[in-house]
Point group: C2
């Protein structure tokens, strides 16, 4: 599949795809006889993953780490384990935060439906004190 097709399928600009290739986020595609990039389904899956992860607030560095986990066949389990655990903590936190936010949004919808103004606690939903940044 060519770059335009991949771009459309993933909602990514062709230029961004080339940028990811330059940055080694996406492996270089095969080339056709006419030097067009020729993407596989693996590329499609990886790019979809990258875009999702970025939307979820992971940095490029974190995306790289996550992608590296895919290739973990060649690395000892202990190393992977630690990395996965760290990611896990972060993912769980994000889920908890988003759930709180979702609940609050639901609350707002219900009170709006009832046409009651009601207290807006949307800020409070995410405002419990941040845990001290770990060193």
């Amino acid at each position: 599949m060519r770059i335009g097709e991949l771009a459309k399928a993933t909602g990514t600009k062709a230029e961004t795809i080339r940028y990811y290739e330059r940055e080694n986020i996406l492996p270089a595609a095969d080339r056709t006889d006419s030097n067009y990039r020729d993407y596989s389904d693996d590329h499609l899956a990886t790019l979809t993953f990258v875009r999702r992860a970025r939307e979820l607030g992971f940095s490029m560095a974190q995306v790289r780490e996550l992608l590296a986990l895919s290739d973990h066949d060649d690395k000892p389990c202990q190393d992977v384990d630690q990395l996965v655990q760290r990611q896990m903590v972060e993912v769980e936190r994000k889920i908890a935060d988003l759930s709180a936010l979702r609940d609050e949004l639901g609350q707002m919808l219900r009170s709006c439906r009832a046409d009651k103004i009601g207290e807006c606690r949307i800020v409070e939903s995410l405002a419990r004190p941040l845990p001290p940044r770990c060193a």
Copy 2:
């Protein structure tokens, strides 16, 4: 509370706080006699919210919208309702994606514990086809 204290409490650089003030993300703080910014607990809550929302992948524009919902006392419920619904859809999607990612990470941990190499499906966890971008 002064800027340094607020910075520490929220894990934000003082310069970023001043930046948020310039950008009207955070309301300007009161000033002490000596012209130091003097923050309230409301500022603390708002800034914590902003940082969390940013970590969760919301853009500044979206954060502005979410913050605006807090002041919805003065706006008709219908307007708020629509906005909340849109945010809700996005939040739900993020939760679903993160849950898939979490499950996959859990899977990896378990197979690592068993010291089996096991298939890594981490990319697949977020790689189901993206829904066509709505216009």
